[in-house]
């Protein structure tokens, strides 16, 4: 009994179909299905050909290539046809050949050798070398043992590693203290310069510790990270604390390291010991102040001398005596000397002004975020 609702064929159509003349009457054939599977395989192969990795299928027993993708041909300057049946080791750097042979032997004997990775070079027919990381796996298709080798071009990676090495050595050899922390201020890296400034033996010992332990006022650690998150870059001076507890002047420059998308990754701080500079500045300031005082005293002293001198000149002018002229002459000389002293005072004042203007003698700047601690304050 028919369950479906399609109208039944009329007898003539049915008869045609029984004879075998129906539209889809066909001898059993796997070909159409095979074609669609093949098309699928072709698509997959096209995909494999798109990858930059060179892929090699190798007969485990003979070590010869059974199949390769398009990239393999590109790295080796050969067509796929030329590559097939050539020994795989012909195409890798000589020093790796023995190791590969050993791996192939092991997988052939079905010893545990499921995966092996090494850095080698693919050597093209023209002798051009491409540094690659080769991963070899042992696989079985049907009753045949194969090796699949995937070679990834690591030219760029090696270049990046070289550049990184240079940057790393620069960090390591800098006499400035360099600190890399996460965004919360936990130390990820401290260079030897930093360790030495703060009296630690090695920078590695500091990883994982918080930034605040290096400041006289621990709250500054948090202020630094907060400010950096807001402003992305700072340069400030403050008081650091050495490993043994002794304070010293430091300048901290910091910036937030961002990725290409502008997202913050970590914080980088450069710390300089500025104790010596601070002391010199202090000395200069004191000298300048002393100079100012001396100049003022000279001015007052000049005025003090001029007053009695004025009285002397007054009296001498009233005396009609040849000696009076001599007194006046001598008084003029004294006045000239005082005038010279006055001029000297003006010049000294200009110098002081100049010094002030060019900052060496400037008043210490108003701290924006760090409460200024003097070493004396710390000591007390």
């Amino acid at each position: 009994m028919s369950m479906h609702s399609e109208p039944p064929d009329d007898p003539d159509t049915l008869r045609e179909k029984i004879i075998g003349l129906g539209e889809t009457s066909l001898h059993k054939s796997y070909y159409p299905e095979l074609q669609s599977r093949l098309a699928e395989l072709e698509r997959f192969r096209a995909l494999l050909d798109q990858t930059h990795d060179a892929i090699f299928l190798i007969h485990a027993e003979t070590g010869r290539l059974a199949d390769v993708n398009a990239s393999a041909g590109m790295y080796l300057d050969c067509s796929k046809k030329e590559l097939l049946a050539t020994p795989f080791i012909n195409w890798i750097s000589p020093q790796k050949k023995a190791v590969f042979d050993e791996f192939a032997r092991r997988s052939c004997e079905q010893l545990p050798a499921s995966r092996w990775t090494c850095i080698a070079s693919l050597v093209s027919r023209e002798g051009r070398e491409t540094p690659v990381e080769i991963t070899v796996r042992s696989v079985t298709f049907g009753d045949k043992q194969y090796l699949v080798a995937i070679a990834r071009d690591i030219t760029d990676r090696l270049q990046a590693e070289r550049e990184l090495k240079i940057k790393e050595s620069a960090l390591e050899s800098s006499t400035n203290g360099i600190l890399i922390t996460d965004l919360a201020g936990t130390i990820m890296y401290a260079n030897p310069g930093f360790a030495s400034i703060f009296g630690y033996e090695r920078g590695e010992m500091l990883a994982g510790r918080s930034l605040e332990i290096f400041f006289a006022n621990p709250a500054i650690g948090k202020k630094v990270t907060d400010l950096l998150r807001k402003n992305h870059a700072i340069t400030e001076e403050t008081i650091g604390v050495r490993n043994g507890g002794s304070p010293f002047h430091i300048q901290v420059s910091g910036s937030v390291v961002q990725n290409d998308a502008g997202q913050p990754l970590c914080i980088m701080l450069i710390v300089m010991d500025i104790t010596e500079r601070i002391l010199i500045d202090q000395l200069k300031r004191e000298t300048c102040a002393q100079l100012g005082k001396n100049i003022e005293q000279f001015a007052i002293l000049g005025d003090h001398i001029r007053n009695p001198l004025q009285v002397i000149v007054g009296y001498a002018e009233m005396i009609d005596d040849p000696l009076a002229k001599m007194i006046l002459d001598q008084s003029d000389r004294i006045d000239e000397i005082i005038t010279q002293l006055d001029r000297g005072w003006v010049e000294s004042a200009n110098v002081r002004q100049f010094l002030r203007r060019h900052g060496d003698d400037a008043e210490p700047r108003v701290e924006t975020f760090i409460q200024r601690f003097s070493i004396k304050d710390w000591d007390s």
């Binding site: 070909y31 159409p32 299905e33 074609q35």
Partner: protein
């Protein structure tokens, strides 16, 4: 040349003595030396492709190509068939079914290995995934060759011999335009190795086409000579299959029916070439013969005709026609009952003392094949080479009688 010297007192007597000697020995050592005994219970296999016969069958080419999943067809044909319009008719059917195709028609009679390789090149470059052959034996054999070269990626000459095709060919749809070669249903392909000027036989079940579309219409455009030659080829197939030591009840059925149909239809169609029903009878005859010989294989006539065709580039059917009666005479003792049954079909005047070989000779003369091999340009000094090649041909293996190289030389000599 007459065949009478062979036959005296119902026995086989050879002018050379070799055949006689063999025949005498055969009386005492039946089956050991010159014939292979057959038994009803012997294992046999019968492979037959799907085929559709009748008026308009060729128009189904497109439907079957599409059902086979063909995305791009190589339409293999030859210039003659193309000129007659049959390649275009099949092409139209493909187009109607939405299957694109590329025509390859650089094929000569006795197709050459180079032509097969050129066709395979086109098949590959056009990214074909199926073949439709329209024509006689040459395009169909060439199409079979193109198929196996494409699927195996090997030179056509590497498949010479029996069961040498590891990977089956893509689907092959055949539309025969002659009634003789039966390449559309057979496991054979004969290709000329042009370098060595010899015909090679490729025999494999992988060469059996997938579908044959047997339409009588294309036969009407065959010239008379081709009708006669291909008809004689079909007769030869049927006779050789019937007496083959690999025959079976199933092949016998088809072989005898083929012989009967050719006997009645071939002379008639020569008289009335436009008659579609007569043409269809010859087509059916060819189909029956093809089913018979594809499974029972052939014999010395074909082995020797392949030798001739390779060296002289002669029409295959014509070579068979001129050799058949001589091979029958040489083979007679190995299968007398079977040959007598064939002779009876051709017997024009029952009661008269005739031989099967004589009847066949009279038949081919009656349809206009009267030349000898000498007249076709074959020289006596070529015989040792021809015989050596025929001796190596796989068709010889199923000849009812085991022939030596010398035996074959004698047969050629008689046929000159």
């Amino acid at each position: 040349m007459d065949i009478v010297p062979y036959l005296v007192n119902n026995g086989l007597i050879s002018a050379t003595g070799i055949l006689l000697g063999l025949a005498v020995r055969n009386r005492f050592t039946t089956g050991c030396r010159i014939m292979i005994q057959r038994n009803q219970l012997d294992l046999r296999k019968f492979v037959v492709p799907e085929f559709i016969c009748g008026y308009g069958a060729l128009q189904l080419a497109g439907r079957y190509a599409r059902n086979f999943g063909m995305k791009q067809v190589l339409l293999v044909t030859d210039p003659g068939v193309r000129a007659a319009g049959w390649a275009d008719a099949v092409g139209e059917s493909l187009t109607e079914a939405g299957v694109p195709f590329t025509i390859f028609d650089a094929i000569s009679p006795n197709p050459r290995s180079g032509q097969v390789m050129a066709g395979a090149e086109v098949y590959h470059s056009e990214e074909c995934n199926g073949i439709v052959a329209v024509g006689g034996g040459s395009p169909m054999d060439c199409a079979k060759g193109i198929g196996i070269v494409s699927s195996n990626m090997q030179d056509i000459l590497t498949f010479e011999g029996v069961d040498r095709v590891p990977v089956p060919a893509p689907p092959l749809i055949c539309i025969p335009t002659t009634a003789g070669s039966s390449a559309d249903v057979s496991q054979f392909a004969i290709i000329t190795d042009e370098m060595r000027r010899r015909k090679i036989a490729l025999v494999s079940k992988a060469l059996v086409p997938d579908i044959s579309l047997l339409d009588p219409r294309p036969l009407t455009t065959m010239p008379l000579e081709l009708t006669v030659d291909t008809g004689m080829d079909a007769l030869c197939h049927a006779i050789e299959a019937y007496v083959s030591n690999a025959s079976s009840p199933m092949t016998d059925l088809h072989a005898l029916e083929a012989i009967r149909l050719i006997h009645s239809a071939l002379p008639a169609v020569i008289e009335d070439p436009e008659n579609l029903e007569l043409r269809f009878s010859t087509l059916l005859a060819s189909l029956h013969a093809g089913l018979a010989f594809s499974n029972a294989s052939l014999g010395a006539t074909h082995a020797m005709a392949h030798g001739l065709g390779g060296v002289y580039d002669l029409p295959h059917g014509r070579c068979n026609a001129l050799l058949l009666e001589h091979v029958i005479a040489a083979n007679y003792e190995a299968a007398p009952d079977r040959y007598d049954r064939i002779g009876a079909i051709f017997d024009r005047e029952p009661g008269e003392q005739t031989t099967p070989a004589g009847e066949i000779a009279a038949f081919r003369r009656s349809i206009g094949i009267t030349a000898t091999l000498t007249e076709l340009g074959i020289r006596e000094d070529a015989i040792p080479t021809l015989a050596r090649r025929a001796y190596a041909d796989p068709c010889l293996v199923t000849n009812p009688r085991r022939l030596t190289c010398e035996d074959i030389e004698r047969i050629y000599e008689h046929a000159l």
